[in-house]
C-alpha cells in the first residue's frame, strides 16, 4: 500500500474550484423542476385528512369530467401493475389502497393540462372514509389494544442491505428489531464504580432540501423513463422494475442536478406514483410537490432511548446498555436500516467490553420516516455523548480528558466482527479542543464542550464505472453517483486527472442515467469518494494498461518496454501523449479507450463497514438565564477524512452538517398535535438562518491517509451533524447546571429546566 501513501499530488488534495460552479451561479444548472417534455401533463395529489381510516368509496367522475383533466388515478385503478414498493419491505402502496395510514397520505392523483387545472379538480373527487383508531407513538403502537396498521404480511424488498427479518405485518405494529450484544452487561453494571442512567428523546426532523420532491415519468410500450431528484437512481430503478414487471433494460432513471438531499431523497419516493399517472394518462407527466407536501412525504425517525453506561475504578468505560424505541411512521421506507445503524452506533467510537443494545421500530399513523443525514447516528449520539459527560461529571473528571482516555485506538477492533477502527480519535479530539480554546477562561453562563461520533459508514461496496479516454486526450467519466451538492462532479474528475496525468479541465462527468452510467448502488452514507473514487482510480489504471498495450503495438515492442509517464508513455527516446497513442492506434484522430472497474465486497472492501466515519465537533455557547435562549459563540468541526481529495469541499460538508445538527439541537422539531402535523410548513418549522451562524467558526481536517479509499481517503459529510445535539445539551449543563435529555433545547425547555432547578 506504500504507493497509496504518495503526497506529491498534482490535482488531488487541492481545492480546485467546483466543476458545477459556472452553471450554478448563472442559473443554468438544470434540476428536474426545470425540465419540460413535449406533450407533458401535470399531476396533483389528493391527500388523506385522516390519520387512519378505511376508504369506503372514491367517486372521481366529477373531477374527470372537468375540462383539461386527462384522468384521475386512485388505488382502485392499479390493476395490471404491482402497486406495493419498498426496497426494505414492500409495504408502501403508490396510492392508498383500501385504507389510509397517515394524514397526508396520497389517495388520488389528477392528471391535467397544467398544474392549476389539476389542483382545481382535486376538490371534485369525493372520498368517503370510515375513521379508525390511530396511534402516533411507539408506546401507543405497542399497546395490547392498539389498532394494526398493516394487516398483511409483506415481502422483503429485493435490495435489503441488512440481515434482519421482515417483522412487518406479523400481527403487531413492530416494523423492525435489531440487537447487538457482547460481554456480560449485568455483571459489569453490578461491579461498576459509577453508573449513569437516563431517558432521552430525539425528535422527528425534516431535512428541508430546498428543491421539493419532483419527478417526470414517461411510460410507453418501450418501457419506463423517469427524471427524478433521486439520490439513488439504481435503487429507484429496481422498485420501478418490480412495479411494472419489466426487465432492468426497460427502466431508465435520469437524475440531473439535485437541489439538496441530506438522505431525504434516498430510495424511492414519488416515482411509482408519477409513473402510474403517466401509464394511465398515456403521456409524460410531471409531479412537483410543494414543501408542505414534501413534509408529508419523509421525515427522520424519532427515537426514545433508555441508556445506562458504567465505569470502573480507573475511569474506564466498562459497559453500556440501551433500549431504543423508534417511530417509523406509516411505512417502513429505509427505517429498517436506520434501526440497524442506530443500534450499532450506540457504541462508538469507544472500546466498551460489555454491550447490550436492543432496538425496535414501530409503525405509527404518522409521516413515514426514512434516511436522514447520519442515518440513525444522531438519534443515539444524543444519549451516548450526553452520558459520557454525565459520567465524567459523576466521577469528577474533565469530560475531554475522559474521552481521550476511552476513545477507540487506531486499529482497535472496538466493535467485534467489524473493520478495526481506522480513525485517529485522540488526534481529532485534541484538534477540536485546541480549535475552541479548551483551556481558555470561560465567562459566566458559557459552556464549552467537545463531542464525537463514529459511524459504520459507506453502505455496501457495489460500484462500477467506465472512463472514456478520447482521441484528443479529453476524458468522460460515466458515474452512477449523483451530484447533490456534495461535489462528486469535482472530486471524481480530480481523481481521474491525477491518475491519467491529464489536466482537470479535460475530464468531464456524465452522471446518474441508468441507461448509460454503470451500476452504482447509492449516493449516500458518505460512500462516493471512497467507493466510486476507488472505482475511478482503478478504471483509470485499467485504461492506462490498455493504452500501454496499444503503444506496444504502435512501437512494435513488448508492453514491458513501454514506460508510463505523466499523461502518456515513453518508449526509448520517443514519447507519446494519450491522445497520440489513441490516434496512432486507430490511424485516425478519432476513437477511444474505455477503462472500467467493478468494486465488490472483497479484498480491502471485504470487511464492513467500508470505513468508520469519524468526526468531532466543539462548541462554546452562552445561555441567557432570563429567557433560556442559547447562542452559539464558537463552532469547530474536525473531519477525520484520511485524505481530503478537495479540502474546501470536505470542510464545506462538515460545516453544512454541523449547521443542520445545530438546528436540531436548538429548534428543529416536527410536532404532531393529535393526527395532524402542527408545524408542517417552512413558516412554522424553523431551520438555521444566517443570524444563527456562530461568531467564530474553525474548520479542521485530520488527514492521516488511513482510509480504504483512494490515496487513503475515506468519507465525510455526515458525522459533524451527529454530535451537535449532544454537544449543545452538554454545554448547557456546563454553562448553567441543568441536564436536558431531549432535543431541541428550545428557550422554553431551557428556561423551564432553570426554573425547576431553583
Amino acid at each position: 500500500m506504500s504507493a497509496e501513501r504518495k503526497t506529491d499530488f498534482h490535482v488531488v488534495n487541492h481545492s480546485v474550484p467546483r466543476r458545477d460552479g459556472r452553471v450554478k451561479v448563472t442559473g443554468r444548472a438544470q434540476y428536474v423542476a426545470d425540465l419540460k417534455l413535449l406533450g407533458m401533463a401535470y399531476a396533483k395529489v389528493l391527500r388523506s385528512p385522516y390519520a387512519h381510516a378505511r376508504i369506503v368509496s372514491i367517486d372521481k367522475s366529477r373531477a374527470e369530467a372537468r375540462p383539461g383533466v386527462y384522468c384521475v388515478v386512485t388505488g382502485n385503478d392499479l390493476e395490471g401493475i404491482n402497486p406495493y414498493y419498498g426496497h426494505a419491505v414492500k409495504d408502501h402502496p403508490l396510492l392508498a389502497i383500501d385504507k389510509v395510514r397517515y394524514a397526508g397520505e396520497p389517495v388520488a392523483a389528477v392528471v391535467a393540462v397544467d398544474e392549476r387545472t389539476a389542483f382545481e379538480a382535486l376538490e371534485f373527487i369525493d372520498v368517503q372514509y370510515e375513521e379508525l383508531k390511530a396511534v402516533f407513538t411507539p408506546q401507543e403502537a405497542m399497546a395490547k389494544d392498539a389498532p394494526l396498521l398493516h394487516e398483511r404480511q409483506f415481502e422483503a424488498g429485493a435490495l435489503r442491505g441488512f440481515e434482519g427479518d421482515v417483522t412487518a405485518g406479523r400481527g403487531t405494529n413492530v416494523c423492525q428489531t435489531h440487537r447487538i450484544q457482547w460481554g456480560d452487561v449485568e455483571t459489569a453494571f453490578k461491579n461498576a464504580a459509577a453508573v449513569v442512567e437516563g431517558e432521552y428523546y430525539f425528535p422527528m426532523t425534516y431535512a428541508y432540501a430546498m428543491e421539493p420532491y419532483v419527478a417526470i415519468a414517461d411510460v410507453t410500450d418501450q418501457g419506463v423513463t423517469i427524471y427524478s431528484s433521486a439520490q439513488h437512481p439504481f435503487m429507484v430503478r429496481h422498485d420501478l422494475k418490480s412495479v411494472f414487471n419489466l426487465p432492468v433494460a426497460q427502466v431508465r432513471l435520469v437524475v440531473p442536478f439535485v437541489g439538496g438531499g441530506y438522505g431525504s431523497k434516498s430510495y424511492t419516493k414519488i416515482e411509482p406514483l408519477v409513473a402510474a399517472c403517466s401509464w394511465k394518462a398515456k403521456r409524460p407527466v410531471k409531479l412537483q410537490l410543494t414543501v408542505e407536501e414534501a413534509m408529508l412525504t419523509t421525515r427522520s425517525d424519532d427515537a426514545y432511548t433508555w441508556m445506562r453506561t458504567a465505569v470502573d475504578r480507573n475511569g474506564k468505560i466498562i459497559a453500556r446498555q440501551a433500549k431504543i424505541l423508534m417511530n417509523t411512521g406509516a411505512y417502513a421506507e429505509n427505517s429498517p436500516l436506520v434501526v440497524e445503524k442506530s443500534t450499532n452506533r450506540c457504541v462508538g467510537p469507544y472500546a466498551i467490553p460489555n454491550v447490550l443494545i436492543e432496538n425496535t421500530s414501530y409503525y405509527t399513523n404518522t409521516v413515514p420516516a426514512s434516511s436522514y443525514r447520519g442515518f440513525g447516528c444522531a438519534q443515539v449520539t444524543l444519549p451516548g455523548e450526553s452520558q459520557i459527560d454525565e459520567l465524567a461529571a459523576k466521577i469528577g473528571k474533565d469530560p475531554y480528558q475522559f474521552r481521550l482516555e476511552n476513545a477507540a485506538k487506531p486499529g482497535e477492533e472496538f466493535f467485534p466482527g467489524m473493520r478495526p477502527f481506522d480513525g485517529a480519535l485522540k488526534q481529532d479530539l485534541e484538534t477540536a479542543a485546541e480549535a475552541i480554546g479548551w483551556n481558555e477562561p470561560l465567562p459566566e453562563n458559557h459552556g464549552r464542550t467537545v463531542a464525537c461520533s463514529g459511524s459504520d459508514a459507506g453502505a455496501y461496496p457495489l460500484t462500477s464505472t467506465a472512463i472514456r479516454i478520447h482521441a484528443d486526450g479529453s476524458v468522460t467519466i460515466l458515474t452512477g453517483s449523483t451530484e447533490l451538492g456534495q461535489g462528486s462532479h469535482t472530486v471524481l474528475p480530480q481523481i481521474a486527472a491525477e491518475e491519467l496525468g491529464v489536466p482537470f479541465d479535460k475530464v468531464r462527468v456524465v452522471s446518474s442515467d441508468t441507461a448509460i452510467t454503470p451500476y452504482d448502488r447509492s449516493t449516500g452514507a458518505s460512500r462516493t469518494t471512497t467507493l466510486m473514487g476507488t472505482a475511478i482510480l482503478e478504471a483509470s489504471r485499467e485504461a492506462i494498461r490498455q493504452m500501454v498495450a496499444m503503444a506496444a503495438d504502435i512501437f512494435k515492442v513488448k508492453s514491458e518496454d513501454i514506460q508510463v509517464v505523466r499523461g502518456g508513455v515513453r518508449c526509448g527516446e520517443a514519447q507519446l501523449s494519450w491522445a497520440e497513442v489513441i490516434s496512432k492506434y486507430y490511424a485516425l484522430p478519432d476513437g477511444e479507450v474505455i477503462g472500467r472497474a467493478y468494486i465488490r465486497k472483497e479484498g480491502r472492501f471485504a470487511k464492513l463497514p467500508v470505513f468508520w466515519e469519524t468526526a468531532c465537533t466543539g462548541i462554546e455557547l452562552e445561555v441567557d438565564r432570563e429567557t433560556g435562549k442559547i447562542e452559539l459563540k464558537k463552532l469547530a468541526t474536525v473531519g477525520d477524512v484520511g485524505l481530503a481529495i478537495n479540502p474546501s469541499l470536505a470542510e464545506g460538508q462538515d460545516l453544512g452538517a454541523a449547521t443542520m445538527g445545530m438546528g436540531i439541537g436548538l429548534f428543529e422539531e416536527l410536532v404532531y398535535e393529535g393526527p395532524q402535523l402542527a408545524n408542517g410548513s417552512i413558516l412554522d418549522y424553523r431551520v438555521p438562518r444566517f443570524s444563527d451562524l456562530p461568531k467564530q467558526v474553525e474548520l479542521r481536517l485530520v488527514q492521516n491517509q488511513d482510509g480504504v479509499g483512494p490515496y487513503g481517503a475515506k468519507g465525510g459529510g455526515e458525522a459533524s451533524l451527529n454530535s451537535m445535539a449532544a454537544n449543545i445539551a452538554n454545554a448547557v449543563d456546563r454553562a448553567v447546571g441543568v441536564r436536558i435529555r431531549r432535543a431541541p433545547l428550545t428557550p422554553e425547555r431551557v428556561w423551564r429546566a432553570l426554573q425547576n432547578k431553583k
Binding site: V25, T26, F257, L655, G656, P688, L693
Partner: protein
C-alpha cells in the same frame, strides 16, 4: 392580459393571467428557470429577483405588479462578453454553494445589498441576508463570498 416590462435590460411583452406570479411567468412562459421556487410563502428567498433594483420574492409577487418596471434575474448578471458578475465569481471562489438551489436568490439579494451598502460589515451582511435560506453550506462561505465581491466591486469602481 398583456404585460410589458423590462427584463434583464431588454423590453419584453408577455400574455399572462391576473393570478400569475412573476416566478410562473419567468419560469413557465419565458423559460428562465434560473429563478428557483421552494417555500412559496416568502420565507426562503430562493425565488428572489430584483424589481427596480429591490429584492422581491417572485413566488408571491404578481407578475402584473412588474408592469412597466425593470426586472433582473440571475440570467441577467453575466456580461455579454461571458464575464461573470463579481458576486458570481466570488461564490465560485469561496465555495459558497453546494446544491445550488438557493444560489440565484442569494446572489440577487447580495447584489441588492451591495447596491445599497457597498462596504457592509459582517453583521450588516448577516442582517440583510437573513431572509435567504441555505440548507447546505452553513452560511459562512456565502458571507465570505459577499465580503470578497464587495472588495472586488469597490476596486472595480475605483473607490
Amino acid at each position: 392580459m398583456k404585460l410589458s416590462f423590462e427584463l434583464n435590460g431588454k423590453a419584453r411583452e408577455v400574455e399572462c393571467e391576473a393570478a400569475d406570479t412573476l416566478a410562473e411567468v419567468l419560469r413557465n412562459q419565458l423559460n428562465l428557470t434560473g429563478t428557483k421556487v421552494s417555500c412559496e410563502v416568502q420565507v426562503c428567498g430562493a425565488c428572489t429577483v430584483l424589481v427596480d433594483g429591490l429584492p422581491v420574492s417572485a413566488c408571491t409577487f404578481l407578475a402584473y405588479e412588474a408592469r412597466g418596471k425593470s426586472v433582473t434575474t440571475i440570467e441577467g448578471l453575466e456580461g455579454s462578453d461571458g464575464k461573470l458578475h463579481p458576486l458570481q465569481q466570488a461564490f465560485i471562489d469561496e465555495f459558497a454553494f453546494q446544491c445550488g438551489y438557493c444560489t440565484p436568490g442569494m446572489i440577487l439579494s447580495a447584489k441588492a445589498l451591495l447596491a445599497e451598502n457597498p462596504a457592509p460589515t459582517r453583521e450588516e451582511i448577516i442582517h440583510y441576508m437573513d431572509g435567504n435560506l441555505c440548507r447546505c453550506t452553513g452560511y459562512l462561505p456565502i458571507v465570505k463570498a459577499i465580503e470578497r465581491a464587495a472588495v472586488e466591486m469597490r476596486r472595480g469602481s475605483g473607490k
